[in-house]
């Protein structure tokens, strides 16, 4: 629906801002990719509301509301759009098999309720779920593949002992808990900015920084270092803007397909030649 509302001819980039609570980010990305030409760079993020997980609001030329997906398409021969995305998390502990899940809802890991595993690890902070679940994202990989995708918790269901994630949690994939390393998180922001510069070889005029809310909760007052390190790389000529998200959207590499990321700093840059 969103993709077909735009003229795909000569489209450079489509910037997506979506409700991150009601929308399954993986499905949103899949839908956009199916209906847009491969050359279009799809970037953006899922809006959040801090650690409340209640009511993320999105709007464009209107009062922001729940459940809204907003998109802006960019065209023009003189427009240059680049992107960069990086995390900085470390996996730890045993790898567990996803034994029961449905789309973005995870019920069981190794045959045990997923919520119980999180409660065990969080101890006294389990009462702060789903917010405290952001401290332990899951990194998942399909059997036989080495490609890792990070997924973060957006909600819990006490009755079903399940966890709701920002993107798909496929059955028979392997999942491993992740923990933060503060310096590597900040370095991740720097890597994202460097990647965006390398693609265009000059500093952008506008950079939209979309950083996962989990990073903000963890880094606390140090979260400003993310922006500082990016500012130092881009210099004072780049206008910086952005928000803390429940999911980030960008391609994985120059030729890679677009994916929903979690717990990353994802940057989209714009400049005119």
């Amino acid at each position: 629906m969103i993709a077909s509302a735009f003229d795909p001819e000569n489209m450079k980039n489509i910037l997506i801002f979506s409700d991150g609570h009601r929308v399954n980010g993986s499905e949103l990305v899949r839908g956009l990719q199916e209906h847009l030409p491969e050359v279009v760079i799809i970037t953006g993020g899922l809006a959040g509301d801090g650690s409340r997980f209640e009511k993320p609001l999105v709007g464009m030329n209107e009062i922001p509301i729940e459940g809204r997906v907003a998109a802006i398409a960019f065209y023009g021969d003189s427009l240059s759009v680049t992107f960069g995305s990086a995390g900085g998390w470390d996996s730890f502990g045993p790898e567990r098999l996803i034994t029961r899940s449905k789309k973005n809802i995870l019920f069981e890991l190794d045959g045990k309720p997923a919520l119980d595993i999180y409660k065990l690890y969080l101890g006294e902070y389990a009462g702060e779920l789903p917010g405290s679940g952001l401290l332990f994202p899951l990194c998942i990989r399909s059997a036989g593949s080495e490609k890792l995708i990070v997924r973060t918790i957006l909600g819990i269901d006490e009755e079903e002992k399940s966890l709701i994630f920002a993107g798909d949690m496929p059955e028979n994939a392997y999942a491993r808990l992740m923990k933060a390393n503060f310096d590597r998180l900040i370095e991740g922001a720097s890597v994202a900015a460097q990647n965006s510069i390398e693609k265009d070889l000059h500093k952008p005029e506008l950079a939209i920084l979309i950083s996962c809310v989990g990073r903000k909760l963890l880094l606390g007052q140090r979260i400003e270092e993310e922006v500082e390190i990016i500012r130092a790389l881009y210099g004072s000529g780049t206008c910086l803007s952005g928000f803390y998200s429940y999911g980030e959207i960008s391609p994985t590499s120059d030729f890679g397909s677009c994916e929903l990321h979690n717990q990353t700093m994802t940057i989209t840059t714009f400049s005119e030649k």
Binding site: F92, G93, P94, Y121, G123, Y125, L135
Partner: protein
Amino acid sequence: MNKLLSRQFKKYLGQAKAFPPGFDQFIAAISESYDHFERDRKIIERSIEISSNEMIGLNIELRKEKEELGIIQEELNFLFNSINECLFSIDMHSHQLLRISAPCEKIYGYSPSDFLANPELWSEVIYPDDQRMVNKDLRDLYEGKPVWNQYRIVRKDNTVRWVENRIIPTINSAGELIRIDGVINDITDRKQIELDLERSVSVLEATLE
């Protein structure tokens, strides 16, 4: 205020009461970062402890499984070498004989090490007139079909014996034959009775005609 920060205040600033304007906010920010640090440390320490216990648990489980597998392996080896039939397995990618059980010596006159040293030996011992028939049957294995056949072999002492061979193929997801497992037994006595019987029937039929 964070406990450690409060102690540091007392230790380094004594009972100082007057602070510059805005100082409260500054102290609150420091106190918050102390709390934040302590909370993260607590969570990380807890997660390392739980994860280490999980890893130790998995390690114990793996060791136990390994011991159990060892016992099963011993039992299988005993069974493998104690029955009268000769069991064998061949890796069809490398055409290497993976294993062959001890009764092969009774059937062929050659020991398992003779077969392991010469991958072509099993083919070389087939009686020349039966060679083509055996090769034709083996083609079925590449289509995933089990093979059951009877043919003659030439033992090490040059005597000729009849054997019965049953082979089960294993095909991978790409449709390639990757392994065969088989059972061979000596059926010479049975075959001799069958042949004698056939001969008697022929003689009887000829006489009746």
